[in-house]
Each structure stands twice: as structure tokens, then as C-alpha cells.
């Protein structure tokens, strides 16, 4: 049996996915990227293979993507995360749409046409605003587990106004809010609003919107807030954090000349 793998070595986490020729997902895995990209790729790949029953790496065609894409020596090819996210998203939503991916250190807005081709893309500028790193920093400042942000935001009755672009200055703003005795949940909701605003500034949001990425996977309430702001529904793929890895796996079918490639 042929297996097709996509490994997405992102700035924060490494994702691996294994699919078959029919593009069915057989296994997947996520772990921290840490400081050794090659080791983190190995770990994610091994776990995904175990899930999928792919025992022999030779059975597997591998495409690597993400910041660490050049650190996978056994990859048959590499593609940028922008191409892979677009391919992964189009797999689930095969019509024209705009994909918003919020990752650990970057956010992307990718326009995809009816044929699945990218017509444009934008990445955040050299700044953590509107990315997972922003949420991590704020969670750390407030000594709140990252996994609890979503629940807190959902509980909030109000949302504080955050004025600054800058992650560090936002930290200072938050200190002032704490001094004023504002509820932490309201602060977190304000932080979510800040992330949404940064994304909305990147491009105009026309047509169908799909959201993916680790921040989306772990914070479904942020997607709900985004929908409220846009005034319409947003599509989210089944494994939002693995969209790039899935796109890479789909490319690996193409390079093997697999089904319908």
C-alpha cells in the first residue's frame, strides 16, 4: 500500500499527517517544534505512521512544509506553507474562498479560486500581533494556561479595548486594566478582539471564509467572535491545525503521480 505524508514544521508545533491515494486521512500527530526541527519532525512522522499502519518509511512519499521544511532529510520535496495551506483547505472546501490561517508565529490570508489555485496571499508583517505568539505572551503575563483562554473569553460579559498593535505594549495595557480591577475574562475577550482586528486589517474578507491553524483549533470561541464580526458563518476544516500538513500530503500524491494527480 502506498502512503502519502505531509509534515508541517511550524514555528511552534510540528504536525504530520498520513493519507492514502484516495486522500483519506489514516493518521496524524502534533508535537512541539522545540529547538530541534529534525527531531520534532521525526517524532510527529513516527506517531502519524503508527496511527496509519505505515510501518516502513519507504512506503511513504513525504513532502515537508513550514519554517523547518528544509530540516527533513528524507522529504521527497518541499513546498511553502502558503501553498500547502491552500491545498489543504481546498480539499475540504472545493470552491472559491478566502483562507485565514492563524499559526504560532504568522497569520496568513490566502485567496483561492474555483479551480483551487491561489490568486493572492498575505502574511502578517514582522510582528507577533494577530498570531498565536501574541496569545502565548499574554497568557504567560496573566499566568493563565493557554488552553483556558477560550473558555474564559466565552464566559466574559464585556470586552476591554486594547489599543496597541504591539505585544509588549499590550502587556502594559493589561497591567493597567488589572489595576482598574477589570475581570480577567473581559481582558481575554479583548485580546481575542485584538487578534481578529489584526487579521481584518490584512485583507478585505469577501466571499466564503475558511479558518485554520493552531489558534483556531484551540479557540473555537474566537471563530464564533469572528463570525459575529463578519455577520456570516465561517467554515472550519475537521483538523484545523493540520491543514498545512494535509496540503503537503496532497502534494506528495501529485509528485508520486498518484490518483487524479
Amino acid at each position: 500500500m502506498d502512503f502519502f505524508a505531509g509534515i508541517d514544521i511550524g514555528a511552534s508545533t510540528t504536525k504530520a499527517i498520513i493519507i492514502n491515494e484516495k486522500r483519506q486521512i489514516l493518521g496524524h500527530s502534533v508535537n512541539d517544534s522545540g529547538s530541534d526541527f529534525e527531531a520534532s519532525a521525526d517524532q510527529a512522522f513516527r506517531k502519524a505512521r503508527e496511527d496509519s499502519g505505515c510501518l516502513d518509511t519507504d512506503e511513504c512519499t513525504v513532502v515537508a512544509t513550514g519554517y523547518g521544511r528544509r530540516n527533513v532529510p528524507y522529504a521527497n520535496n518541499t513546498r511553502t506553507e502558503i501553498s500547502c495551506h491552500a491545498a489543504g483547505s481546498f480539499h475540504h472546501f472545493p470552491h472559491a474562498h478566502t483562507l485565514i490561517d492563524i499559526g504560532g508565529q504568522d497569520s496568513k490570508v490566502i485567496r483561492i479560486d474555483d479551480a483551487g489555485k491561489r490568486s493572492s496571499f498575505k502574511m502578517n508583517r514582522k510582528c507577533a500581533a494577530g498570531t498565536g505568539a501574541f496569545l502565548e505572551e499574554i497568557a504567560n503575563r496573566l499566568k493563565i494556561e493557554l488552553g483556558k483562554l477560550d473558555g474564559l473569553a466565552e464566559k466574559a460579559e464585556n470586552s476591554v479595548q486594547i489599543g496597541s498593535y504591539c505585544t509588549v505594549f499590550t502587556g502594559t495595557e493589561i497591567l493597567a486594566k488589572i489595576r482598574e480591577g477589570i475581570d480577567v475574562a473581559d481582558i481575554i475577550k479583548g485580546i481575542f478582539v485584538s487578534v481578529i482586528k489584526r487579521i481584518l486589517e490584512m485583507d478585505s474578507m469577501n466571499g466564503n471564509i475558511v479558518m485554520s491553524g493552531g489558534v483556531v483549533a484551540h479557540n473555537p470561541y474566537l471563530v464564533k467572535m469572528f463570525e459575529e464580526r463578519l455577520g456570516r458563518g465561517i467554515f472550519v476544516p475537521p483538523l484545523p491545525q493540520l491543514t498545512g500538513a494535509l496540503g503537503a500530503a496532497l502534494h506528495s500524491i501529485e509528485i508520486r503521480g498518484g490518483q487524479n494527480a
Binding site: R69, R70, S83, K117, R118, S120, F121, M123, K126
Partner: protein
């Protein structure tokens, strides 16, 4: 795509001769400043150089020095020194690199040319604000520091149609420069000498244009990154026979490349426009990166900015006023958009890269919606790269390269 393959930049043979004439230029400047045999004028790169040459000045261009500080990456250490005396990290990084280098008593000239100990001390500082206000602030710093007179021209900016009134005001301002320049140089203004200088600059400019237009061929014989180096003589030696001879030599070599089907990029697949300033500290790196992806960056606003088509020895003052006013950077958004559109058609380009240089708003034309408008109009993709001409603190290597690679992947699927 994606695998690291070796990239070899094809050497332009004429470059050896360029290095020689650039060395001669700097040694002559240095000698003039040291023995006072000729007065030295510092002049903005798109300034009234011909007037200065006609009055017998040796002309030094601080912007050329700024580019050298960027290309050698000395700028990285110099910029903070200027920031520390109140020159913001958000203003022109040529200015902050150059002032910082002065404060640190450093210059790439010392490294490149044995025996040169520093910048040629000016007798006068001459600016033209046609590019931006920063050039005036830059030379003003030296004026205060060295107690040297500063004079110049204020050009109307962001203009569409060029009016006679605007040009007459420039001519008047140039005429007003003559008495102080005569006094400093000790030479009387001679219109025939100005005609000679304008005629030489015109010829240099025509040849430089031909050099750049060789890239209309496919494969294009010279990359944008090569051209930023090759333009040195057009900047600092226009108004001389030396520059003309150099561009005749270079043009011959590029024409030969074209005749033999030799491109700057092996297996040229895509042809791109570079809008905005170069990232001087990353020229080689960028050049090699694009070669790896069989992508040729071959046309630019920046290199075209030293084409002065209106020079006319029969009417030197008015033609200089026109030539230095009609350039891209002085013009309004509509003019700029049409200008790029025209080049995209003539050079058969597949996409446009906009360099958003953090410290150079005047040369960052992505900021008022132009990429989006051109994408729609031309049906080709654009990409904005965040960076800077000299301040590499504003440049994220990984992000820039991922963006470029993704852009090329997008072109491949078009």
C-alpha cells in the same frame, strides 16, 4: 521545487573596468580634497550635478556612500549611532547609516581603497528635494557639523502634469545657486561648459537606458541585482566621457549575451519587476535565491531613475529642470501606476515585487493600494516584501524568502 540547488551568478566581464573607473573617481576626489586643487561639492544623486561640474567642482554623492554602507552591511553598526543623537530609526536609513558612520569614523572607502582615510571634505553641500526631504536634513547635519555652506533646490513633489511654472521656479532656483557656487569654486559660470556637461550626461543616460532595455530580451541578460551595481557610473560619473565609454563596453557585452541567448538566470521561467529600493545588504543573497528558482528580476523603478531623457545641451538649465522633475519619484500615483504598467507590458513580466522599505516611504509605492490596483488591471500577481534599504533590523530573512518562494509557486500554477 524547493530543493536547495546551487546558484551561480554569471559574472559580467565589464565589471572589472567599472571597479577601476570607480576607484579612479574616489582617488581623484580624495586628492582634490587633500591638496585643494579642486573644490569638492557634495550633491544629492538626482541633483544639479552638471551645474557643479561646469563650475569645476569634483562632485561626491552621499547616497552612493549610503548604498556602500548598506552593501557592506556596515550600516548595521552605524545606524544606532545616529539614532542615539536623535535621528529616528524611522527616517531614511541612508541618512542614519551615513551620519552614524561619520560619528564612528568609519567608511567603506577606507576598506576598498588603500590610502583613503575618510570622506572627501566638502566645500559646499548641494541638495535637491525632488526625491525626499531627508536628503536636505542629511546634508544639513554635515553643514552644522563641518560648518560648510548648504544650498539647494526645492522641487514640487507628487505631481502629475509638469507645468511651465514649476519648471521656471526650478530654473530660477538653479540660477540663484550660481553666485554662491562661483564664489566657492573661484570659477566664473560658463554656459558652454554647462552645455558640455549636460551633453555628456545625456549620452550617459541614453546608454544606461539602452543597457537596461537589453532586458526586454528573453532570457534577460542582466538581473536587477547586477544592475544596481552597474548603475554606479551613471550616478557618480555622469557628465564625464569615462561613464560613456563604460556603458558602451557594458552594452556591447550585454548585446553579445542576448545574441547568444545567454540569460542572467539559467532556464529563465519567470520575469519579475522590482519596485522600490534594493535591500543593499542582501543583494548577492537575493540574486542567488532567485536564480535557484529560475526566476529573473529584470526591470525596476530604481535603476530607471538615472535615465534623464530631457537633457538638452541647447537649453541646459530648462532641460535639467525638466529632467530632474519628470523622474518617477517626483510624480503622482497615477503617473507611477501607468509607468509600471507600461514596463510590465514592454518587458513581458509575470509579476511585480513591491519592496516596502521601512525607512523610505518615498520609494515604497505599495502603501496606497497600488499592488491591488495593478493586480486587477494587469491580471498578474504582486507580492509586498517588508524590509529596508539599509536597516536590516527591519528585514526578516525567513519570512521574506518564504513569501518569495510561495509567490513563485503561485506563478507555477498560473
Amino acid at each position: 521545487m524547493g530543493e536547495e540547488k546551487k546558484a551561480t551568478i554569471k559574472k559580467i566581464q565589464a565589471t572589472g573596468q567599472m571597479r577601476k573607473i570607480m576607484a579612479d573617481y574616489f582617488y581623484e576626489l580624495d586628492a582634490a580634497a587633500k591638496d585643494d586643487s579642486q573644490k569638492v561639492a557634495w550633491c544629492t544623486s538626482v541633483g544639479p550635478a552638471e551645474l557643479l561640474l561646469s563650475l569645476g567642482f569634483r562632485v561626491y554623492y552621499p547616497e552612493n556612500h549610503g548604498a556602500m554602507l548598506g552593501a557592506t552591511r556596515m550600516a548595521t553598526n552605524c545606524i544606532p549611532a545616529a539614532n542615539a543623537i536623535g535621528y529616528s530609526p524611522d527616517i531614511c536609513s541612508y541618512l542614519t547609516s551615513d551620519v552614524g558612520a561619520y560619528l564612528r569614523k568609519e567608511t567603506p572607502l577606507t576598506r576598498a581603497y588603500e590610502g583613503i582615510e575618510g570622506l572627501p571634505r566638502p566645500d559646499v553641500l548641494v541638495f535637491n528635494t525632488n526625491q525626499c526631504r531627508d536628503v536636505q536634513d542629511w546634508l544639513s547635519w554635515y553643514s552644522r557639523e563641518l560648518q560648510i555652506p548648504i544650498i539647494g533646490i526645492s522641487t514640487h513633489r507628487n505631481i502629475g502634469r509638469i507645468t511651465d511654472k514649476a519648471l521656471e521656479s526650478i530654473v530660477q532656483q538653479m540660477e540663484d545657486l550660481i553666485p554662491p557656487l562661483e564664489k566657492i569654486s573661484g570659477n566664473k559660470f560658463d554656459i558652454d561648459k554647462l552645455r558640455d556637461a549636460v551633453a555628456l550626461s545625456k549620452r550617459c543616460s541614453e546608454l544606461w537606458k539602452k543597457v537596461l532595455e537589453t532586458n526586454m530580451a528573453s532570457p534577460a541578460p542582466m538581473s536587477f541585482f547586477d544592475a544596481t551595481i552597474q548603475m554606479g557610473p551613471a550616478v557618480v560619473l555622469r557628465g564625464s566621457e569615462t561613464a560613456i565609454q563604460y556603458y558602451e563596453l557594458l552594452l556591447k557585452e550585454l548585446d553579445e549575451r542576448t545574441a547568444n541567448g545567454v540569460g542572467a538566470v539559467e532556464g529563465e521561467k519567470f520575469r519579475l519587476y522590482w519596485e522600490g529600493m534594493p535591500i543593499w545588504g542582501k543583494l548577492r543573497d537575493m540574486s542567488e535565491f532567485f536564480i535557484r528558482f529560475n526566476t529573473a528580476v529584470i526591470a525596476s523603478t530604481y535603476c530607471n531613475s538615472w535615465i534623464f531623457e530631457s537633457f538638452d545641451p541647447a537649453d541646459p538649465m530648462m532641460s535639467m529642470a525638466r529632467a530632474y522633475t519628470e523622474i518617477f519619484i517626483v510624480r503622482d500615483e497615477d503617473f507611477k501606476e501607468k509607468y509600471i504598467e507600461d514596463i510590465v507590458h514592454r518587458f513581458k513580466l509575470d509579476g511585480i515585487l513591491f519592496h516596502d522599505a521601512k525607512t523610505c516611504p518615498a520609494n515604497s509605492n505599495n502603501r496606497y493600494g497600488m499592488p491591488e490596483r495593478l493586480e486587477k488591471k494587469l491580471n498578474i500577481p504582486t507580492l509586498t516584501l517588508n524590509g529596508d534599504l539599509n536597516d536590516l533590523r527591519c528585514y526578516s530573512e525567513e519570512q521574506a524568502k518564504t513569501n518569495i518562494e510561495a509567490f513563485i509557486e503561485q506563478l507555477e500554477t498560473k
